[in-house]
Amino acid sequence: MSCSCHGHVDPLVPKIAVIEHIRKDTPDVTTFRVVNPAGGKSFTSLPGQCAMISVPPIGEAMFSITSSPTEENFLELSIKKCGIVTEYLHGLEVGSEIGIRGPYGNNFPVNDELKGKDLLFIAGGIGLAPLRSVINYIMDKRDDYGKVDIVYGARTPDDLVHKEDIFNNWPNRLATNVFLTVDRECEGWDGHVGFVPQYIKELGLDTNKVVLICGPPIMIKFVLQGLEEIGFKKEQIYTTFELRMKCGVGKCGRCNIGDKYVCKDGPVFRLDEIQRLPDEY
């Protein structure tokens, strides 16, 4: 069957994974925990890498892995309902089988440029998903990194994902601050109100840190502007991209931005690398 029986597995052939746990984060975001049918992780990965999820006959789609590589027993994917594959996935139950292949792409440089540094995570909406794999990785190797600031915003409090982490787990860790914001005033919300880019400026953060960003393109655009105004350099800023990906292995030719393939050379890019590329994302 799924051809792990011989050495020459084609990279396009998925293997089976079972949905072990489903958590509804928001009205349109669900976090799926998947494992091998015989138990255990489908594959090992690095923070920021992606997995191609298959739901025949609907098709395939690429998602960032939201669980930390330090999580030994399963992979987690937080998936927003926005297309035909995600719609189908949202209809699945615990015990359903899907296809999975990966890991794909590069990763945030947790063992190089990030090590020993103060870190600033900036996320909007579902954009927290890829960053969560990094944050949890760092939390598990807390001594290797400096101070951690997490700025996370969503349209409404209901749209905040990974609530357990942002409200309970992370704020209670050493030298870790979580700053939450929502777009508009809302009953029952006594936290900060406003857009992420503005909040960043208000927080008056020092610039001696590495920044990791993920969120909707418009948020990223304004955050980058804001960061440069505060005095951050391009070499300090990392983000992660999502484009149409089919093969995941740098061959099918559709996720390129200039001469870079997001699925292979990305999805993580440093801002100075991005600025060398055409504005086509």
Binding site: L12, P57, C82, G99, G253, D259
Partner: protein, 343 residues
């Protein structure tokens, strides 16, 4: 070096076909294309280039690689192994032979595309030098030498009138030659001399071609500079947004993956796709290339800038098919010249 008399062609086709699948330029309805040979087909080795490049033989337009069955909960996946035998692809021109190497650069780099690799390994490629290059040929712009055996071919052949000169260049080529040696003779001193004459004649003809002076190196500057050139607005206006250029092109290799299902089970296949099509980059939440200008630019940037950045050579072999087939006569030569500042 061997010699194969043309009168022996029917015999050798039959003989090769016993041991291999045999692909040849075959004429049908006045048009010549590579196809699997069967008894009775009209082989045309005179036509310089086939309408569509032979890339279909190494990279089929559609290829099923997975079967699935799902009841909504349980999923079964089975990879589909290709059933192809070893094959001989006979009569490949230098430009097309080089295009195979360009596709190899992408499909055979890590992680290796196993479907492609398997198919590629099963092939023995026999090239045929271009005795009569055509007006729209410009392979010399990419340092391709149509008078020589192109890198990667297993046997090189030259047309000497009533016979072809046959030179095995790889081990696979040796094996093929040995298998059918009884149909060939050893090349004589005179044959060798004729070959040199022919090669010199081809070289002269190539120099005289109207597009001989086309030089992609006129495209200078940083990636972003070329990307932002005003020339794209002007060039792309006439593009109809069809994929004719892409599909006849020997170097275009982008593909799509689709599922086909009936009831609970189905197949997953990959198939050629074109960056010229509007939904090529469409995602659930948007499309980074919404205009034909962006799509047009992508195709030529890929061939002339992106691919060279990644692999060290241009992704064009100057076969001239796009010059012949574009419904509105827009083609890579016009793009190179214009980007180089001409016109």
């Amino acid at each position: 070096m061997k010699v194969l008399k043309k009168e022996k062609f029917p015999q050798i086709w039959q003989a090769i076909n016993q041991a291999y699948e045999l692909y040849l330029p075959i004429e049908k309805d006045d048009r010549v294309n590579f196809a699997q040979w069967t008894e009775g087909e009209t082989v045309n080795l005179e036509a310089l280039k086939t309408e569509i490049s032979p890339k279909d033989v190494i990279f089929p337009q559609s290829e099923t690689y997975l079967k699935f069955e799902s009841d909504g909960k349980k999923l079964q996946l089975e990879s589909v192994e290709s059933e192809n035998r070893e094959y001989v692809l006979f009569g490949v021109r230098s430009c097309d032979a080089v295009s195979f190497n360009l596709i190899d650069n992408v499909f055979l780099r890590e992680p290796i595309d196993r479907l492609y690799e398997k198919r590629r390994n099963k092939g023995t490629i026999v090239s045929l030098a271009c005795s009569e290059p055509e007006e729209n040929c410009f392979c010399s712009s990419f340092q391709i030498k149509p008078e020589e055996a192109s890198p990667g071919v297993d046997v090189a052949a030259w047309d000497l009138g009533d016979k072809i000169l046959w030179k095995p260049v790889t081990e696979k080529g040796q094996v093929l030659t040995q298998k059918f040696a009884q149909l060939m003779e050893d090349a004589s001193q005179q044959d060798q001399e004729e070959l040199i004459k022919l090669q010199n004649a081809i070289k002269e003809k190539v120099k005289e071609l109207p597009l001989a002076s086309v030089d992609p190196k006129v495209i200078k500057g940083e990636l972003k500079e070329i990307f932002e050139s005003k020339v794209w607005d002007e060039l792309s206006q006439s593009c109809l947004g069809c994929g004719a250029c892409t599909y006849i092109c020997p170097t275009c290799h982008c593909y799509d993956i689709q599922d086909f299902a009936g009831g609970n089970c189905g197949e997953r296949f990959r198939c050629w796709d074109s960056c010229m099509f509007s939904e090529f980059t469409l995602m659930a939440h948007g499309n980074p290339r919404t205009t034909q200008k962006q799509r047009f630019r992508q195709r030529f940037m890929h061939k002339l800038v992106y691919y060279p950045n990644n692999h060290g050579s241009y992704a064009c072999v100057g076969c001239g098919r796009c010059i012949e087939k574009c419904p509105v006569n827009m083609n890579i030569v016009k793009v190179i010249k214009r980007l180089g500042g001409e016109g």
